[in-house]
């Protein structure tokens, strides 16, 4: 371990202890570490944006591009300038133009991705599970495959029903206004179980990931301390 590694190691250890102290509550150490972290991240972020975005996407085309390419840069330059001057109160309304451009592009990507990237492929996958020839191809697994396909179809319909927005007609003022129409309420009960199962699996995954991060920090600390005190 060279001196630089040792110095950074000690800084890393101190920061680890400072941040982990938040586990028992907000305190001076956590606040200090987090402000150092935010300052560094913000500074680095600024440097990265200038180097990786402003320079290649704006300055370079304007500086070294052909006249045709420079002409194309008039539009983004105008949008950028409008965005910047909209930060001044007097011109705040001008910001709507660059922002509208961003919203237009990103919204269309939302729609395209949702429909062609998720909705259609996921629906078609459910349907493909009911392919009789696939069931016949693996006779020892047919039972599982059929069960799997049916559970998938019913479960997905249940989940979709659980989120049905409409409300059941109420006959008396005291009726529960959180109920869906009966058909969707019944299916929604099935859907609830599957939503719970999914949330539970994600919860287990979250805990695993965060636990690995904690183990990494503890392992780092114990290695450093062992190294400092001559251990192996």
């Amino acid at each position: 371990m060279n001196l630089s590694d040792l110095a950074w190691g000690i800084i890393g250890l101190i920061l680890t202890v400072m941040v982990l102290s938040y586990a028992i509550g907000d305190n001076f150490l956590f606040r200090l570490a987090s402000h150092i972290f935010i300052g560094l991240t913000a500074g680095y972020f600024l440097v990265v944006i200038i180097h990786q975005i402003v320079w290649p996407y704006w300055v370079t085309p304007l500086a070294v591009g052909s006249w045709g390419q420079r002409a194309w840069m008039i539009i983004p330059s105008a949008l950028v300038l409008l965005l910047i001057i909209s930060q001044f109160q007097k011109f705040s309304k001008l910001g709507i133009i660059p922002v509208s451009f961003l919203i237009g592009v990103t919204t269309a990507i939302v729609i395209g991705g949702a429909v062609f990237g998720t909705l259609i492929p996921q629906i078609s996958t459910i349907v493909e599970r009911f392919e009789p020839s696939a069931w016949a191809a693996a006779p020892e697994q047919t039972g599982f495959l059929v069960l799997d396909a049916v559970v998938m179809l019913v479960g997905v319909i249940g989940v979709l029903s659980f989120f049905y927005f409409g409300r059941r007609k109420i006959e008396f003022p005291d009726d529960d206004q959180t109920k869906r129409p009966r058909f969707f309420e019944g299916l929604g009960k099935i859907g609830q179980v599957f939503i719970g199962v999914t949330l539970g699996a994600i919860f287990a995954g979250i805990f695993s990931s965060t636990l690995w991060a904690l183990i990494d920090r503890l392992s780092f600390a114990s290695d450093l301390i062992k190294g400092l005190f001559g251990g192996t």
Partner: protein, 568 residues
Amino acid sequence: MPVLICPVCGAENPISGEKCLKCDATLDGVTPLDAPVEGLSGDESLGSPTKDEQDLPGLLQSLKDEGDIGEVEESLQNGLASNDDLSDIFAEKEASDEEVVPDWLERIRQRAKEEPDAIGDVTQKISAALETIADDKDENKHDDFQSWIENIRKPGSAHSEDQPANELKKENLPSRLSDEDWLMRIRKAEGKLPEGPDPTEQKGNSLLQWLIALEEGRETPSKLGDETSAADEEGDEFSSPITSGDYQVVNEQTQKIATPFKDVLDIDRLMVDISDEEQEQVNLFETVVTQENQAGQQHRPLRKIKHWIWRLVISLILISGLTASLLVWDNADISGAFLSPQNAAFLSWSEARQPGGSLLFIVDFQPGYFSEIMQISKPILGMMLEKDMEISLLSTTPSGELLFENLLAESTGEELAFTDLGYLPMSSLAAYGIANHVENELLQTPESPIVLPAEGYDGILLLSDQAEDVQIWVEQLTALMPETQVLLLLTSQAGPLSLPYWESGQVDGMISGVVEAAAFESAVSGQTVSPVGMRAYQLGSGLMVLMLLLGLTLKNRPDKDDIGEGAQ
């Protein structure tokens, strides 16, 4: 215009309606009734402000917004209240010393004094609105209200049939008295006219004065907060004395004070509708509040200490347990880790790569997950580098390049060259951008900083910590570049929600979490590989299982979500 009042929810419906627009209850047999006040009540006037109304100052707008409920009794209340509130607001221009002047109004006044122009926009609109409302009032409001209320009072009318008389008294009458004779007459007839001195003028130790003091800032606002923690000590954060039902124990009358909080927080409106009887009740309530408040102040530090102790104990158990297992037990048993189909597909894809191919790595994880991603990607990176693949990198996190350099260094023990395509700040744009990346000389468009090989890549490997990011990339790549092979290297938390994309064939292989990576590495190397820290991981997981099982023994008490309390 006659309307139908829903017998179930009380909403106002058009005369032609067969079912209630709000609750779908049948309107058969309901007698039509004159609408209370044209233009001030009902959905249209209150729910959807006209263009002119939208230009009203914020305060007026908020008063209008109050009535956005479309229920006749409430719209009547709101209609009147709004009307009165407006009058009061304008009356405040000649306010007496006793009147409550909110901060914002004070600031408007202050500014108006300092800058003559500043008053223009606001006051002109207020004056115009005042005139409009005054005109409306003069023309027809009184008559309409009177006839409507008379309709209600008629024996056998639609309302008296559907709702008990006492309910009408309590809920359908305007919540606020004005000096208007007609309204005073109604109150007298309903037995609600206060016999004593005007309650609004009462001095003494009342909630009313406390509310005024609160508004003026004399009383510390934290009283209610303290009382919350007292009334609902260790309880649901959302419960407040006003909403949690504490008021209900006092009297139905006082509920009228509580319910408006659902829609509006107009203290001024609350203050005026207090009779003698109500005054006694609020005094009683105030006593309760004060006592609870004191109790809350005592309990709050206790609550914090309990939390602190509880957190300390759990932290110590977990950290000391993990540290001990790291120091004492090196190797863990992972004989239960088998290759899942998605892992096996990844392995097949890796083995099928020809030397000299090209790969695009997308770094889309935060530095906090570096350790886990490193363990997951290590075997793959090793395999790919053995085959002398050309590697390109695209990052959607600012530190992506640094993280990838470190990944390569930690995986292979040496610094390796790769093509950096740069940092793109939004995954969706990055995905859409690389799919549409083409040079067009005809249009002479600027050269894009992203330079992709014309023949494409042998595979795109996404290193991610979030299922949401995976979804973005997979959606865009499969919608726009369906021929591209996409492979995922993910943290455990991103796995469950990414699996559907593997099953749908949009992803060609996937490894999620350290255990799957260990199984993959074992399959590649032909011997069982146990990652460093695996034993600690198993211990941590065991502790979580234990906590979940312990939690099964606790009773359901949704109103008390404090663990210190619950664990005892």
